[in-house]
Amino acid sequence: MKIIAVYSSKGGVGKTAGAVNLAYTASRTGRQVLLCDMDSQGAASYYYRIKPKKKFNRSRLLKGDFYEFIRGTDYDGLDLLPAHFSFRNLDIALKEAQHEKSRKVLAELLEPLKDEYDYIILDCPPNLTILSENIIIAADSVVTPVVPTTLSLLALEQLLKLFKKLDCPKEKILAFFSMVERRKSMHLGVMSKYGKYPLFMKSYVPYMAEIEKMGLHRKPVGLAGSKSVAGRAYDLLWQEIRERMAD
């Protein structure tokens, strides 16, 4: 089982779209995939039309009593652990956990699922808290979308700092350019300057109405098959993630 966190401390960079579409693409290759919606806003759950069961909440998650709340999506091989409103305070709850272990709680919670899934994909909330630290420690790879702008690069810098603090190998970071608009010279400039760093993958995801409209259709873009340009972009991205993880 490999855990892939789609993470950035910055909001609106295409994390959820990335997690939702990568999870769908991964499941199309016959693998068993679990998408965990860690963001209390529950956008990933919304895209897959899944609501949490009434009895589900943060405290059951932290007690490791959450497996029965995993639900099947409309697609074979793809399950989802929905978000719950109470996840907004996950940070506080994690801090209350025993100090020396507080960073490994998530890793321990996911460990028992190793025989059930080939991939667990985490859709993470945009923050820099102890939850982020948990996510980084639990993940085999941290896939981070970077909009080719200065602010977004700043978020990447913060992530690198956090990796250093946690003494995590920075090779775990797989960055990709997201919401790319090739007509903007700044985007092209940033991509040509930073894209050559090994941290960045070659594949990128363009800014597309098709992705924006996912909220309307509530379906992954890849469902449209080869007709979908965005779907193809996520396919390529997934292929590269798999190759980089295999190295």
Binding site: G30, Y48, R49, I50, K51, K53, L62, K63, G64, Y67, E68, F69, I70, R71, G72, D74, D79, A97, K101, V105, E108, L109, E111, P112, L113, E116, R218
Partner: protein, 527 residues
């Protein structure tokens, strides 16, 4: 914070028998009054079912199918074990299938046997999804129509409706299941019966052939009747494998054919004293002939089947030479199989089998007269006792300095004893006899390996001696054969060393007594 493993049950699936289209329509109508039901698609196609000639997959509750370009191994309940790309063809070998999650488990079951197409299934499926108010799929329903087609026969399988649970939506599944039961639908607990029904369109009968020898003999059976029953069974094995040998489907048809010959010859030798001398000697010489004409192809097959193993023994630099050796063998095999086919179509072969069957089954046959009217069981007891004592006598004499030849002799004695036990196993306690045979097999395996390694080295050395000239090809071949002989010689030594331990394990008092106990217990039962 102790975390226990998740109790992640597989989503449930339940299948109901449908009596006709109205019943399915009725159910879908009543579902539509409570849920949104949407038809998501129709698929139809043809599925081909494969198994080996000796039903290796079916015996282990597996099926291999090809649908479109998808090859799939699954269990009787439809749970997929592995998938690979593959088109429908007449036969499949493991090595025809690309490296995949399917190949390894499949290879472990079928080994070198060919997968043969048994029958095909024309299927049509309609899938519906049940939606909640967010238009999220909360259950799936599949309607199935299937028609099995075999050699000239076809059969409509009962129409079915499968209800599939979506993880996390168990309550919806339960509601629909109850509705189905209320509509009067009957669930199928086990799809195995349907599968067996589908298999019935094939001209083959399920489990109609297996390589394991088994003939049930009544304790009161006479010698003549027992010999007739055993030999007719073996003649049947020759006949059933004959087609596969001539069509050259896989190597094991010939292997099983030859085992039947060997068993027949063995029985004739073992019971020589009580069988009509003239006829016995005629059949002995004819079966010897049959053994000798079927030998060359089998000898080549043994090496061809070892291709992967041999390549693994040598460094890659010697692989090309070894490939030349295998190419030679393949060419030789083409010639030899032609010759073999000719022998098996010859009047001599036909006469042998016909006269043999007649001899074994005609009521007035010599086989049922004079001494052969006596009961067989006491003779079997005596023979087994004598053969076992002889085997141990020879085995006990072997020590580390004994000649290789002594081990070969012991192997042949052991083989005859094992055949004898297998012929007459139904006279004795099944479980105890099985236990003894298992112990015996372990020792025989060691002796068999020892013999195989001797024969292989000799054959390779012979080929090496035949090489002449200083061409590139000769050099490559020579280097590979030399390398192989030296690896085999090393193995030969270690198998020889293992013999002493293997034999002392076998000849433990426990085993010596076991056979005595089995025989004497059965004698008490008869008296």
């Amino acid at each position: 914070m102790p975390i226990t493993g998740p109790d992640m049950k597989l989503p449930q699936e339940i299948t109901f028998l449908l009596e006709g289209p109205p019943q399915a329509g009725e159910l879908l109508d009543s579902l539509a009054s409570r849920f949104m039901v949407e038809e998501t698609g129709k698929i139809s196609g043809q599925k081909y079912y494969y198994d080996t000639f000796d039903w290796r997959l079916f015996r282990k509750s597996f099926v291999l199918t090809v649908t479109g370009n998808r090859l799939e191994l699954s269990d009787f309940n439809g749970v997929s074990i592995g998938v690979s790309a593959g088109l429908p063809r007449k036969n499949y070998f493991c090595w025809d299938i690309q490296e995949s999650e399917l190949r390894e488990p499949l290879e472990a079951i079928i080994d070198m046997r060919a997968l043969i197409q048994i029958f095909s299934l024309n299927f049509a499926e309609r899938t519906f999804r049940v939606l909640n108010k967010d238009r999220k799929t909360v259950a799936r329903i599949v309607l199935r129509d299937e028609k099995a087609r075999g050699e000239g026969a076809q059969l409509d399988l009962p129409r079915r409706l499968s209800l599939q649970e979506i993880r996390g939506y168990g309550s919806v599944f339960d509601k629909i299941r109850k509705m189905c039961l209320k509509t009067g639908l009957k669930s199928i607990d086990d799809e195995q019966d349907l599968l067996k029904l589908a298999f019935s369109v094939s001209e083959r009968k399920l489990l109609d052939y297996g390589a394991k020898f088994r003939v049930d003999l009544d304790e009161t059976i006479t010698i003549g009747e027992a010999v007739s029953k055993i030999c007719l069974d073996l003649a049947g094995a020759m006949q059933i494998n004959h087609v596969g040998v001539c069509a050259d489907i896989d190597s094991e048809f010939l292997h099983d054919f030859r085992i039947a010959i060997r068993r027949t010859r063995s029985l004739l030798t073992l019971l020589k004293k009580v069988l009509p001398p003239e006829k016995t000697s005629y059949f002995q010489s004819e079966f010897k002939w049959l053994g000798s004409v079927t030998g060359p192809v089998r000898d080549i097959d043994v090496y061809l089947l070892k291709r992967k193993e041999y390549l693994g023994m040598l460094p890659e630099s010697l692989h090309s030479g070894l490939s030349l050796f295998f190419d030679e063998l393949e060419k030789m095999r083409i010639r030899e199989i032609k010759l073999l086919r000719r022998h098996l179509a010859s009047p001599r072969y036909r006469t042998l089998l016909e006269s043999w069957r007649l001899y074994l089954s005609e009521p007035g046959s010599e086989i049922f007269s004079t001494i052969r009217k006596k009961k067989c069981k006491p003779l079997a007891d005596k023979l087994i006792g004598k053969r076992f004592a002889g085997f141990l006598r020879d085995g006990d004499k072997i020590n580390e300095s004994s000649a290789d030849n002594e081990l070969h002799k012991l192997r042949i004695r052991g083989k005859k004893l094992r055949y004898l036990l297998e012929f007459f196993r139904s006279f004795y306690d099944e479980a105890e006899m099985e236990r003894f045979l298992k112990q015996m097999k372990r020792l025989q395996d060691n002796l068999g390996d020892f013999n195989d390694l001797s024969v292989q080295q000799e054959m390779l050395a012979l080929r090496l001696a035949e090489l002449s000239g200083r061409t590139q090809r000769t050099m490559q071949l020579g280097a590979s054969l030399g390398g192989l002989i030296s690896v085999l010689a090393g193995k030969h030594r270690s198998v020889r060393q293992a013999f002493q331990k293997s034999y002392s394990n076998f000849s433990k008092t426990g085993n010596r007594d076991l056979l005595d106990t089995v025989i004497s217990a059965s004698s008490r039962r008869v008296s």
